[in-house]
């Protein structure tokens, strides 16, 4: 068999990807959903390019379990690489089949045909035909072979352009999100949860509790099963007011596995872990100097602007079909898990993707979908659940904390002679469909309880805690040890870039420390250890764009730093320079980024992802950390979990190195680690003080300066 794209292997028939209609349109089906990353535009461009259509002629249907192919999750910056490759392959075959039919109808040679705007024409005839006229002649229920020739990127007309996002006009007009979706007769519901995921309901008489809750104005129904407790009512506003009162009625046990919060660098190594050497290459050379340092990042929240939301309808179709509208990243997995948790057959449940607020990984989308589905089943009526701000900041899974230690030797020529990185972290993925078991918060609470699965991290090459733990530099010796902490005090799962954020921050900070030891400019030092021309090109370009550390141009308290990474060691290259001014806190003045993501499908979309990735990383790096006390999460509001504000946003300049001959690479997560390192390196340049533990808050910096 030909090496077919992985999604095609899973959904091998052409009509799972392409359909003629509606009207004078063609429908392309995808499993990769719009999360705010602009993938809808890019996939439209890719499909249009192969099919010979204008974007207006293509309708993209993504993430509908009733009709879209299962492409696992929209995650890991894989949508262009995997989802795009699938649509390209399917589109090419559809076009080839229609071209054959067109040739026979028009009586011309197939090679003479061209297709534009869906119309097939040939120099050999005046007559034309199109996809819609030929629909009856072509059978799309065939296997995809992968034999159809792909259009050459050199001939691209639509892919490569900055097509405007098709979804934005509606979002900037009115109803557009799952949050805005309503069904007739729908009830609103809110789930009561303790301040930590391990809190259980204080033992109570069920009837008395139900009576007390139902007595609250606005509450018309109570759903109570085990530790799952929800109130429902027709008026959302009344229900939210009732929720405040309900929270006072309901008591929670103390969290079961929550340790006292301390510094990450002390907490993590004290936790039970499984250690293994995950990478070993070369042999250490004898060093003349050695250096060792530890870096850390805290637990981080997704902190989406819109709390998670879902609508479920238990009576949506024949034989009590259950339909769920959700902003999940993995509609098929979610359908399977909800069906299993509710004791249903898969074919009795559908999940339909609808946009939600920005998604940066495994947030509360799946959990709230279960909440809505379970409540809807219990009440036999359509239900909408939207989490409150406090739920979003305390019950959505967090991004795992990491501690990274690097020890390296330098030889007499100022080159790295040995390298050992160790990383301590929890799992970085625990989403529905990952490994065994059911990963849905509500499912762990209902009676009979569904057990919470054990944690299992992603192994290399993609890696979870070890993502990007292998330095991308040419080193004569490199060892990586992964200390997998098997349990986490907080619920953790995938957050944008997983372990790459901490590992890249550590590696790139450490490189600057090594460069300083041998009194070498950090850019020169990096290039000394890099042969890959694409890696060198982004670093050289960012140095040039930023006017890297001109001698004599130094300004007091101002510094410039660089950070570089190749995401997952095989995806997009990204080099970042930050200029910071440190006064009472770190002010990031300007950030430059250069990105090589192979052939660029939508330059503006890619730039948008990089800009957003930089700003989000700045927010993590400068400000963010989840906090807790012995009773639960304390960073439950925007006051307790501040994120970057408009007055803290630097100027950002992004440059793309378009590589038309290289495959397109995902880039949504590429900027996270390099940005953090660039800032820390700039702070070190400005102050002469090395900050190794995130976030780089004013308090930490002051402490650091006082210590040195």
């Amino acid at each position: 068999m030909k090496d077919l794209p992985s999604s095609i292997q899973k959904s091998p028939r052409l009509n799972q990807w392409i359909a003629i209609g509606p009207g004078k349109q063609i429908t392309a089906y995808s499993g990769k959903v719009e999360l705010g990353q602009g993938i809808g535009a890019a996939l439209t461009q890719i499909a249009c390019e192969e099919l010979g259509l204008t974007p207006q002629q293509l309708q993209l249907v993504a993430g509908h379990t009733g009709c879209s192919p299962d492409e696992l999750w929209t995650a890991g910056s894989q949508s262009i690489e995997v989802g795009g490759a699938a649509l390209r392959c399917a589109g090419a075959q559809a076009r080839a089949l229609f071209a054959r039919a067109a040739a026979s109808v028009l009586g011309v040679a197939e090679e003479s045909l061209r297709v534009e705007r869906g119309i097939f024409s040939s120099a050999q005839t005046q007559r034309v035909t199109d996809y819609w006229s030929l629909a009856g002649e072509v059978d799309l229920s065939v296997e995809i072979t992968g034999d159809a020739p792909l259009r050459s990127p050199c001939d691209y007309r639509i892919a490569g352009l900055s097509l405007a996002r098709p979804d934005l006009p509606a979002k900037l007009s009115g109803a557009a999100f799952v949050h805005d979706f309503a069904l007739p007769g729908m009830l609103h519901a809110r789930v009561l949860r303790g301040p930590h995921t391990s809190c259980r309901l204080e033992p109570v008489a069920k009837e008395a509790l139900a009576a007390a809750l139902t007595a609250l104005p606005g509450v018309t129904a109570v759903v109570h099963s085990g530790n799952f407790l929800a109130i429902a009512g027709a008026d959302e506003e009344e229900l939210v007011r009732a929720l405040v009162k309900a929270q006072k009625i309901v008591g929670w046990t103390k969290p079961q596995k929550l340790c006292v919060q301390g510094e990450i660098e002390e907490m993590l190594p004290a936790m039970a872990c499984e250690s293994s050497v995950v990478h070993l290459a070369g042999a250490p050379q004898t060093p003349v100097t050695q250096h060792r340092a530890r870096y850390s990042r805290p637990y981080l929240a997704h902190a989406s602007i819109g709390p998670s939301c879902a609508v479920a309808d238990p009576s949506g179709g024949p034989s009590s079909h259950l339909t769920i509208w959700s902003h999940t990243q993995g509609p098929h997995f979610l359908r399977d898990q909800i069906a299993s948790a509710l004791g249903r057959e898969k074919n009795e449940v559908d999940v339909i993707h609808m946009p939600g607020a920005g998604c940066y990984g495994h947030n509360g989308a799946d959990d709230v979908a279960f909440d809505a589905a379970f409540i809807a089943e219990m009440l036999g009526t359509p239900v909408r659940v939207q989490w409150m701000r406090e739920d979003e900041l305390s019950h959505s899974p967090f991004g795992s904390a990491s501690l990274v230690e690097i020890e390296a030797g330098l030889d007499a020529g100022g080159k790295i002679s040995s390298w050992h990185l160790q990383v301590w972290s929890h799992t970085h993925i625990k989403r529905p469909g990952w490994d065994e078991g059911i990963n849905l918060l509500g499912a762990w609470a209902i009676e009979p309880a569904i057990p919470e699965p054990k944690d299992k991290d992603v192994s290399l090459p993609a890696g979870g805690g070890q993502r990007n733990a292998i330095a991308i530099y040419d080193l004569p010796h490199q060892a990586v040890t992964h200390h997998f902490i098997t349990r986490s005090p907080l619920r953790v799962s995938a957050l944008r870039s997983l372990g790459a954020y901490a590992n890249t921050f550590a590696i790139e900070s450490f490189l600057d420390e090594l460069a300083a030891k041998v009194e070498t400019d950090p850019v020169t030092f990096r290039l000394r250890h890099l042969a890959d021309p694409r890696a060198r090109a982004v670093i050289e370009a960012v140095a040039k764009a930023s006017g890297w550390r001109q001698p004599g141009a130094e300004i007091a308290n101002t510094g410039m730093g660089i950070g570089f990474g190749r995401y997952k060691n095989r995806s997009a290259y990204c080099a970042v320079v930050a200029r910071v001014r440190v006064e009472e806190k770190v002010h990031v003045e300007k950030v430059w980024a250069v990105v090589d993501a192979g052939r660029v499908v939508n330059p503006d979309g890619l730039t948008n992802q990089i800009e957003g990735g930089i700003i989000q990383s700045l927010s993590w790096t400068l400000k963010e950390a989840v906090t807790w006390s012995e009773s639960g999460i304390t960073s439950q509001t925007w006051d307790g979990y501040p994120i970057l504000t408009f007055d803290e946003v630097p100027e950002v300049e992004v440059l793309l190195l378009d590589r038309i001959d290289e495959p397109s690479l995902g880039c949504g997560e590429a900027a996270a680690g390099p940005t953090a390192a660039a800032v820390a390196n700039a702070v070190a340049h400005a102050l002469g003080v090395r900050a190794r533990h995130l976030p780089l808050t004013a308090e930490r910096l002051t402490r650091l300066i006082d210590e040195t």
Partner: protein, 155 residues
């Protein structure tokens, strides 16, 4: 209670303490203003009341209806407002959004600003945006869109 929303007089039968946001979304079906926090921190719910940008999640209905002839504009109505439409156009031109959840509130605030001060200083722009959060990091584009709206307004 009766007041004007997006140019139309509406009768609302709701608790006077109810936050305006829920009334707009659920009773009047203007879903473009969104719930983000309910506590006045994020600005996703921002609407115009008599030309002022107001966070509707912390604005009780009684405070709206106690003003003489209050007029409310949400994103749905802003599209018919010359400055509002221009600001929205600038956001689309600059593709100033990722998820877009925060953007309507921001468009409302920028419209209020430009109605008051057609050529605001950077400090005035940042002041207007200080009550808005964006998690996707669309800030750079949002600021660019504001600049482009100002340019369109002041030829």
């Amino acid at each position: 209670m009766s007041f004007k929303v997006n140019g139309r007089t509406v009768e609302v039968d709701a608790d006077p303490d109810a936050p305006l946001l829920y009334v707009l979304r659920n009773d009047l079906d203007f879903k473009g203003s969104r719930f983000g926090c309910g506590t006045g921190h994020c600005g996703a719910c921002t609407v115009l009341i008599d030309g002022h940008a107001v966070q509707s999640c912390t604005t009780p209905l009684w405070s709206v209806s106690s003003a003489p002839n209050p007029e409310i504009l949400t994103i749905e109505g802003l599209i018919a407002d010359p400055i509002g439409a221009l600001v929205r156009e600038a956001f689309l031109d600059e593709q100033a959004a990722q998820c877009g959840y925060c953007i309507n509130g921001i468009i409302v605030s920028v419209t209020a600003l430009l109605k008051r001060i057609p050529n605001p200083s950077q400090a005035e722009i940042l002041e207007a945006l200080s009550r808005h959060l964006c998690r996707c990091g669309s800030h750079v584009r949002i600021l660019r869109a504001v600049d482009s709206a100002i340019r369109m307004l002041t030829p």
